[in-house]
């Protein structure tokens, strides 16, 4: 989103937030002391205070004296970074309700469509293949239903959730713990780029802010705050995802958890959540029920879709799709079930995969992508 007009107050606020060393708390304090952004700026540029309000005060004073009106927003606009401040219409409405909403959100990409439903999918950065598969599946199913998938673009579950949503070109939002111009983790650079194209990157930190450790819990509060519900896919006993779940609880959002093996340490966190009252999730429908949105229409559309897709396929292709209906199947098993030559089966599998009807999962096994 790029602002055409540069409202004075918004520009001043952005300037203050972007001051080096400025924290949300400090900005809020200054605003409450001086009443408005322009008040803060005036006090700063005068710089004459008996008590130094902050150890960076003198530096800020110098910078404030160089403040040029409209410049902050213009610079952001030239870098194709949008910004929404609290109080604006496009500010995520759920986020307004939380205890300490961010003063402004920096956005790279498109704003989510109005009246969307937001669901967060979070979890371990070092998941098992099971977790990855579940996150992808939920991401896919949610975006198929038009839900906006929100996550943190971290490695592991977060990435898988984004990827699942992107597979169906669904709108997905990555809330970052650093400036939106910084690709972190670096291995997700391409993923962040495709999220930007198909959705947006959001951060409460101005561009250029490095990913510090303390920013991620703060980021988690935004993820929880802007969503109708939070799904924890896989989380160990001490996991950042549990922080997100806690934020969600304290903001009265619905918390969902994907059950896992009781022997898997990576599912200890999610199983703990379920024990303490979180709704267990096995498919997107559980989520819709949990947040009170009826998706029965969606489901019936799904089964129609399946019949329609199968009708379009050749007899052989349909036979293969039916053969892999019951979960994850090796090519070997598929040719056995259909009793066809394996070279034929292999060739048909690739073609079905390109049609988007089946996909390959962990370990070279195939699963069906139509419900």
């Amino acid at each position: 989103m790029i602002q055409k007009t540069f409202p004075k107050e918004k520009d001043e606020l952005i300037f203050i937030i972007s001051l080096p060393g400025m924290t949300r708390k400090c900005a809020l304090n200054l605003l409450s002391i001086f009443g408005s952004p322009s008040g803060v700026l005036e006090a700063m540029s005068k710089g004459s205070f008996q008590v130094e309000l902050h150890r960076a005060w003198t530096r800020w004073s110098a910078l404030a004296r160089g403040y040029r009106r409209g410049h902050s927003l213009k610079t952001l606009a030239s870098r194709r970074i949008g910004v929404v401040v609290s109080g604006e219409d496009s500010y995520p409405w759920l986020l307004k309700e939380i205890a300490d909403p961010p003063l402004a959100l920096f956005i790279k990409g498109n704003l989510p469509p109005p009246d969307s439903v937001f669901i967060a999918i979070v979890g371990s950065r070092n998941p098992t293949p099971y977790g990855v598969e579940v996150a992808k599946k939920l991401g896919r199913e949610l975006s198929a239903a038009g839900v906006c998938v929100v996550s943190g673009a971290a490695a592991g579950i977060d990435s898988a959730a984004h990827r699942g949503a992107l597979e169906l070109n669904g709108f997905t939002i990555a809330v970052l713990g650093c400036g939106v111009d910084i690709a972190y983790p670096a291995s997700n650079r391409l993923l962040l780029e495709s999220i930007r194209k198909n959705g947006c990157l959001i951060s409460e930190y101005p561009p250029g802010i490095k990913p510090d450790k303390f920013r991620f819990p703060e980021r988690n509060r935004i993820i929880a705050g802007m969503c109708n519900g939070v799904v924890v896919v896989e989380a160990a006993e001490k996991s950042g995802a549990l922080v997100t779940a806690e934020c969600a609880l304290s903001e009265n959002r619905e918390v969902f958890a994907v059950p896992g093996s009781i022997f898997s340490p990576k599912s200890a966190g999610t199983n703990f959540l379920i024990k303490n009252g979180a709704t267990p999730v096995t498919c997107a429908n559980d989520i819709f029920e949990g947040i009170g949105i009826s998706k029965t229409a969606m489901v019936s559309r799904g089964s129609n879709e399946r019949k329609k897709t199968l009708d379009l396929l050749s007899e052989m292709e349909a036979m293969i799709v039916n053969a892999i209906n019951d979960g994850y199947v090796y090519p070997e098993e598929i040719s056995n079930r259909c009793s066809i030559e394996s070279r034929l089966a292999l060739s048909l599998l690739s073609q079905l995969e390109l049609k988007g009807i089946i996909a390959m999962g962990s370990g070279g096994v195939y699963f069906s992508r139509i419900q």
Binding site: A160, S264, R343, G363
Partner: protein, 513 residues
Amino acid sequence: MLASCDGATLVGLESQIVRVEVDVMNGIPSFEIVGLPDACVRESRIRVKSAIKNSGFEFPNKRIHVNLAPGDLRKEGASFDFPIALAILEASGQLDYSKPRSFIVAGELSLDGGVREVHGAISIALGAREAGKSFIILPEGNAREAAIVPDLEVYGVSSLCDAVGFLRGSAPLPRVKVDADSILNTDKRIGPDFAEIKGQEHAKRAIEVAAAGGHNLLLIGPPGSGKTMLASRLPSILPPLTLEESLEVTRIHSAAGLIPPGEALVTERPFRSPGCSTTAVGLTGGGQPLPRPGEVSLAHCGVLYLDEITLFNRNALESLRAPLESGSVTIVRSMISVTFPASFSLVASMNPCPCGYLGDVLKDCSCALHAIQKYRSILSGPLFDRIDMHVGVPRLRKEYLRRKSPSEPSSKIRKRVSKARAIQRERLSSEPIYCNAKMSGKMVDRYCTVSSSGESFLADAFDKLGFSARSYHKILKVARTIADLAGSEIIEIEHLAEAVQYRFLDRDDGHAF
């Protein structure tokens, strides 16, 4: 008195004729060997002395000097025992030649005067013929092997006495004769056969494609799924060795001392499976003072199987790059440089993840994603680039193992493979290569004609499945081979679609496998 006799030593696969000069003179009795002998050659003093005495001759109680010329070449091995003994006998007046002096003799002596086999008989024979020698005397066990070389008289002896009798002309020996063609053509194959493997049709098909196009293959599957069993049967479907190939393989195996006594030729394609602790030198060859062929050369014209490739030492794997690229290894030492042929099909196996059970139907994988990525990254890089096909080998359910239906025997598959190879040879007749796997990027563009629907399929596949650029040529090459197996000149969708299946480790998100 002076006397001399010609022996030979191996430098790589080439034999170098070594003139053994002996001087027996008056003085304090001693026995000295010069000419850069290694410990083994120096020890021949003991063997020669006893062998001469125990063969009924007299060991001269004089000062004996032995010189091995050329003096600047390091000599190794026990094969000089025999020429040293003959030269001493001549120098001490116990051997008068009735035969021409133009011959080579090689063999290790035992204390009782018997003669033992040496390494590299066939190379020594080839060297003798090149040098224009009229005959060659070898231990009996080596004689058939050397007799493969045409236009050279070969005599096998079992003891020092036999040789002396033969050279004096008092006890003639039969010339050893061997017909190479008949050895090659009598099929005595009793090696492992694909008919013995139940199920795994998918992997078998992949191996057939790999055999037909000479592609390198990576088998991925949980422990106990039969990766080694499958790989060890690849030689049985490769086209039979030609005489030329067989000679080359025999030379290499002979130099390594792997030819059993009495055998003439290696008639089966070799299958080498070095363990995962093999060092770089073990793979490529080397050693002091003269380099020996390593596993890559021993697998020449056959299959090199690296089981659990991720457990191999990184250096060792990197050392495979040159042979995979050029089909030979060159070992350079300060004094010499030696080239061994090493043109082999690489088959590697690995588990899908550290615990081995990722994607398994019977057991859950307990690995974290990081661990899997780290495990995979061992393979990434230049070696991975030279592997054309990735094949999943799942564990089979018991039902399939119990099934009675017979599997296709190797001989049938081999026929299809040979046919596809013939097609390739004809197509590539103007190029210096003979199979699809060796095609360069330019050749891929020239020889891989894709149908128009195939083109759009390929574009689609790259878009949706996230293949990297390097996969492009590999997919086309493998598709070319699949089309050749099907006898189609144009590469159609179905060929490409199958080829895509053999590249699944390439998909860009890294979570696919």
